[in-house]
């Protein structure tokens, strides 16, 4: 078996080459950069403080003063969207970070040690997958109570199975390679082999999953906030903005339309980058 293994030449393509060969990825990356920059420099670029109320200016349509209009407290929708991006990105990164740390470690251990470790991890993953991700997150938030922190934990746990599965299969492929056998033969300790040899060579599919999971985590977190289980007023968060502006939709659609568009654009950009990365990193998908 080992003698017939075909070695696929791993051509490391530069970031720039990837962008040029796939305009869709490039557009996604540019849009994503803008969103990240806006979130980082929210104080500098947003025209008003996110929670500054002006009750005489309630539900104003978009104008030169308020580019995207105002909400039912007279707060500037654009400013709140910019600050909301900060919350959404933060929630997404932390949730995916939790999933990556827990799921990645589970997958690594399962693949590396096999036997009972593998069957235990696989069973645990199957149990978590028995509930659709969002419902699992919903149940966890229901138990922990509504707050943004709990949303991060819940969405993180809900994403653990994906990372466990992907890391497991990536590691299973890598530990078959000759250099791992060589490291074992040379007497390296398990820990060293895992983190020096196996992990760096199993990263590609995991990176793709991080990008795609970020999109899903942002959607899920906004959904939970929309249901009133995440960010609490007056925090500027896209999902809770939608929820609080909802009763006024007939007279002031902009307070609903624009925060939603912000979610769509962010998730779309993340998906485009994730798809592009997957095509670039997966030799089978390369045309």
């Amino acid at each position: 078996m080992a003698t017939t293994t075909k070695v696929i030449p791993q051509r490391r393509r530069s970031w720039f080459a990837l962008m040029r060969s796939s305009p869709r990825t490039a557009i996604g990356a540019v849009v994503l950069s803008i969103i990240v920059l806006a979130a980082v420099f929210a104080e500098a670029i947003s025209p008003y403080p996110p929670n500054q109320q002006n009750l005489r200016n309630r539900l104003q349509p978009p104008s030169a003063e308020h580019l995207l209009g105002t909400d039912h407290f007279g707060r500037d929708v654009l400013s709140r969207i910019i600050y909301g991006g900060r919350v959404s990105l933060q929630v997404g990164f932390i949730a995916v970070g939790i999933a990556l740390a827990v799921g990645g470690l589970m997958g690594l251990l399962a693949a590396f040690y096999g036997r009972w470790v593998d069957s235990t991890v696989s069973f645990f993953v199957d149990v978590l997958l028995a509930l659709p991700g969002f419902l699992l997150a919903l149940a966890i938030v229901a138990a922990l109570g509504p707050s943004l922190t709990n949303v991060m934990i819940a969405v993180g746990i809900a994403n653990v199975p994906q990372f466990a599965r992907i890391t497991r299969s990536a590691v299973l492929q890598v530990i078959e390679m000759d250099f791992v056998t060589a490291a074992h033969a040379a007497g390296s300790r398990d820990q060293r082999i895992m983190f020096k040899h196996v992990v760096p060579n199993s990263l590609s599919p995991v990176i793709v999953q991080v990008t795609l999971s970020l999109a899903g985590a942002i959607l899920a977190a906004a959904g939970l906030s929309f249901l009133g289980l995440g960010a609490q007023p007056p925090t500027a968060e896209w999902g809770s903005m939608l929820n609080s502006a909802r009763p006024f939709i007939r007279d002031a659609h902009w307070a609903v339309t624009f925060p939603g568009l912000a979610i769509v654009v962010t998730v779309l950009a993340l998906n485009m980058v994730g798809d592009g990365l997957r095509d670039a990193l997966d030799p089978r998908r390369r045309d």
Binding site: F134, G145, L227, G260
Partner: protein
């Protein structure tokens, strides 16, 4: 075939038991005292203690879980702390509305997603393909809650074509919730159909069929699509899970009297027996759908069938 199905059902049992541990554990770890939740903060100490004793709240965790599990296996989730009615009855009363909505959305997503994906794959890199791709990416990025609100705004409030919410009979009430719930599934199925069709269309047997003069229609549908169906069925099964998640939000937006809305109402009022019941119901539905998917596999892939017969 029967043997295969039985095997799948047997494998489900430990998984569902695992889910019961999670569902019980989540609610068990919830901060707050169930007795106080039911009787209120100002209830006399003796009454609280009596209720705790009656509910078994003074027993150790594993005993409580055991008692709970014995009842759950008999489909008894206890009584709603809000309405005082049996949870199972409340779920059974509302389940049909959710199943109706989920089935309609699934049918819609298959009816649009599969043909659109085939159309895309048979005409790669044309205007049709690009349009379908853009629509699919948009559909995947669209949050259910936002789409629902925009649909209500557009078709109910501005155009006044359809009712904004509720389920008072009549097909009009089904249109907006079904489309809202089905959109992301349409997108996912379109993408998957396109990708697998492109792959099967480049197979040798398709070239053989073409070279012996089989008509294109027949190649597309009998040779390629049939073989592409397995991954497509997988996605449809997975999408059903996403649909159950989406149903929670869709039902909330459209005031749809299903178990998703029941769950949200229960979460808001800390009615944990109902939350547990609904979560277990969702897990059971998802398990059944996954089972059906697996059986469909065996039907679509004769290799699997022969292994177990």
């Amino acid at each position: 075939m029967i043997k295969y199905i039985l095997r799948r059902i047997l494998l489900l049992i430990p998984i569902l038991l695992g889910v019961t541990v999670i569902v019980f554990g989540i609610m068990f770890l919830t901060p707050g005292d169930a007795a106080i939740l039911m009787l209120g903060e100002n209830a006399p100490q003796a009454e609280l203690e009596a209720l705790r004793e009656r509910l078994g709240l003074n027993e150790p965790a594993h005993v409580q879980y055991g008692m709970w599990l014995v009842r759950v296996v008999q489909l008894d989730f206890g009584r709603s702390t809000r309405s005082g009615r049996p949870v199972t009855g409340e779920i059974v009363a509302r389940l049909p509305a959710t199943v109706e909505l989920a089935l309609l959305a699934t049918l819609l997503s298959i009816a649009i997603g599969v043909p659109l994906g085939v159309l895309s794959a048979t005409r790669p890199n044309t205007a049709v393909d690009h349009t379908a791709t853009v629509l699919a990416f948009g559909g995947l990025a669209m949050p259910v809650f936002w789409q629902g609100l925009i649909m209500i705004l557009l078709f109910a409030l501005v155009l006044d074509w359809l009712p904004p919410s509720g389920k008072l009979g009549g097909w009009q009430y089904y249109v907006l919730p079904t489309i809202t719930l089905g959109t992301s599934a349409i997108a996912a199925i379109t993408r998957m159909t396109r990708a697998t069709m492109l792959e099967t269309l480049s197979q040798d047997y398709v070239r053989t069929a073409r070279s012996k003069g089989v008509r294109q229609r027949s190649i597309t549908y009998r040779h390629a699509l049939r073989n592409a169906m397995i991954p497509i069925v997988t996605v449809i099964g997975l999408q059903f899970g996403a649909l159950l998640s989406g149903a929670v939000i869709t039902e909330t937006i459209f005031s749809w009297p299903g178990i998703g809305r029941l769950a949200i109402d229960a979460i808001r009022s800390k009615d944990f027996p109902v939350v547990q019941g609904v979560v277990m119901t969702f897990a059971l539905m998802y398990a059944v759908v996954n089972l059906v998917t697996d059986v469909l596999y065996a039907y679509l892939d004769p290799r699997l069938k022969t292994r177990y017969s």
